[in-house]
Amino acid sequence: MGKVFVAGVGFTKIAEHWDKSLEQLMAEAAAKALEDAGIPSVNSIYVGNMMGEALQEQAHLGTLLAEDLGLTGIPAFRIEAAEASGAAALYQAALDILSGRSEAVLVIGGEKLSDGLSEEVSSAMMMSGRQEYEGFIGADFYAINGLLYRLYEKRYGSDGIAMFPVISHTHAAGVSHAQYPFKLTLEKVLSSPFIAEPLRRMEVSGIGDGAAAVVLVGERLAEKIKSPKTAFFIASSTDYITPFERENPLHFQSLAMASDKVFEETKVERREVDFIELHDATSIMAALSLESSGFVEPGKAGRLAEKGEFSLEGNLPCNTFGGLKARGHPFGATALYQVAEAHLQLTERAGNNQIDSAKIGLIQSLGGVAATAFAILMKKV
């Protein structure tokens, strides 16, 4: 893979933005990213969004955003890959640069979940599963996570799995763009009601609105512009939509393959990774992600979480700004937030959340229950 760089990032606070539209949120994040990169225009725009048609009855987001940003005339598209839509947009943007067609690409991710009632959001979330099979029997995202959790419990025991939300909240405390910028105790997690037993309410991400944007540039432009930059590498893979049709439901093969690819391409070893931004849509997904991508042995993630391995001061800090659980998870925007946060870490602009001498960060983004996976590796330059 050739060279692609992150040259600017921007994002909104994740919240219930009752007074702003999806389009406004995305335009706001995009303008901030362009300002951070210090460039007024780009060659193309890619938009990551999952539910625009379902919740806002709005498609054609690429062209809308181009107009909002005064960039009409350039190619602009929306890319969709369920909750990993933002990462899919980044993937296409990177290919655009690598092909030589574009030198600067703006990638915008946005989702406005508060426009729907909880029933409508739940129904729209079902779009990431197979409607004719899972949807038909009501096996939604959380039900499947509950089943995976139960299987994990049976196979390995579930000690420490509920620590993942605690870690994410500890890291999000005081983060200005986080949806839930406060600490959460393990007792609170374990006393929250079940949403799909044994999965509890405080073990899943909430519903929020937000947008984040990233400016990717090619090597020649990267040399010219002054903004802080990080090297960007991305790989992707897919698996059967339904985990229970996979050989081992507790192994996210898609993530394993995407991770292998990105490490192979960059010649980076797993032990060199300084931090990971996990796709912790649920606590069990955080554990399965770490285990599937080869950082932790199967069945060990919870116990290591208890020991502080994944805390900011630990050996492998995870979710340095709070992850999906506490920073927030506006689906199509999530991967863009992850990349923006990794960029802040690697350019030493992470404030109180800064990890000492961070050089390499890994980002994982999943669509559905890891039916689509992206592994993004970012390096300090």
Binding site: E16, W18, P193
Partner: protein, 349 residues
């Protein structure tokens, strides 16, 4: 807005049905745990009760406390979103039953949970201008909640009534000021012929309830020269127990000034009667010269805020009638099946 000149409450009354259902019992049916229940229990109107009969019960108490001939009442306004008739006024039923005359103005009002305080505003205006001698303002509802919906855990029944006239004659309390804050905010609605209302979940919080109540309270303070420290009690609309305390926290009000006006924990949300029953509860124990800030909330959306000062006459007047606490304490629990029957939720085919 200039302060209100010489208008007082001469009598007030609160009424709630005897029947109660515990939220625990509703939760048993719908699979909710104790931590998910918004109130302890709520009132359930009996099979022979509706917003008209409950309005009459409350009005009788208010008129008795006022000690006036009902024929001196020149206007009756009732606020409700559960009128027994779609077309036929409720005010005329109340007027005929309490023995008011025929030369009176009646109009039913609807503004979700704040229609009762709107009635109080209109009556205040009619008295202040001298158009009527006494007026009766009522808030009454048999609130509806779809089985299994979040509303079912709070939607309750009750009524509150106020006889308002010129100040003097040892009135119970004076109404010193009011103001309203309204916007077009669709947080909760019911279309014609629909049995149950729809609501936009968390949208009913920050951009709806909190924005409007805080907006009304702030404009009342700014426009009429009051400060939060002037008040001994605050009564806010109570769709659940959490919300009024959250307003208090935001405004920096001591919880002790909120607690006396909380009724939702044991009565549920009685919609148009809700904040007015909170006011009745406070008036039942307040001391002369204490100051009360009342702020209702109605979805759709708006809030009416009032400044009410307790007068010496309240001490003697309170002894004339049955207080709200006796209704609160007088209860018969029903199970979910009886509740379904009483609230006419069983389809007969």
């Amino acid at each position: 807005m200039a302060r209100i000149n010489g208008v007082a409450i001469h009598g007030y009354g609160g009424y709630v049905p005897r029947y109660r259902i515990k939220d625990e019992e509703i939760g048993r049916i719908w699979g909710k745990t104790a931590s998910e229940l918004p109130v302890n229990e709520k009132t359930v109107a009996g099979p022979d009760e509706d917003a008209a009969t409950m309005a009459v019960e409350a009005a009788r108490i208010a008129v008795k406390m006022a000690g006036i001939d009902p024929r001196r009442i020149g206007a009756i306004h009732e606020g409700s979103e559960s009128k027994p008739y779609a077309v036929k006024p409720t005010g005329t039923i109340v007027a005929a039953t309490i023995g008011a005359g025929t030369g009176l103005l009646t109009a039913d009002l609807e503004f979700a949970c704040k229609a009762g305080t709107e009635a109080l505003q209109l009556i205040t205006g009619l008295v202040e201008t001298g158009r009527i001698e006494y007026g009766l303002a009522i808030g009454a509802d048999t609130a509806q909640g779809r089985p299994g919906d979040a509303l079912e855990f709070t939607a309750a029944s009750g009524a509150a009534a106020f006889v308002v006239g010129r100040a003097g004659g040892d009135a119970a309390a004076s109404i010193e000021a009011w103001c309203s804050y309204v916007t077009d905010t669709p947080d909760f609605w019911r279309r014609p012929h629909d049995r149950y209302p729809m609501h936009a979940a968390r949208f009913t919080g920050q951009p709806a309830y909190f924005r409007h109540i805080i907006g009304a309270v702030k404009s009342l303070l700014d426009n009429d020269g009051y400060s939060l420290d002037d008040f001994d009690y605050f009564v806010f609309h109570q769709p659940n127990v959490k919300f009024p305390f959250a307003v208090a926290k935001y405004l920096g009000i001591d919880r002790k000034k909120i607690t006396p006006g909380i009724v939702t924990d044991v009565l549920g949300n009685t919609y148009s009667a809700c904040s007015l029953l909170g006011l009745v509860k406070v008036l039942d124990s307040a001391e002369p010269d204490q100051l009360i800030l009342l702020a209702s909330y109605g979805s759709g959306a708006g809030s009416d805020a009032f400044v009410i000062r307790v007068l010496d006459g309240i001490l003697e007047r309170r002894r004339r009638v049955r207080g709200l606490s006796s209704f609160i304490d007088d209860k018969i629990y029903v199970n979910y099946a009886l509740y379904l029957k009483f609230r006419d939720k069983i389809l007969m085919g």
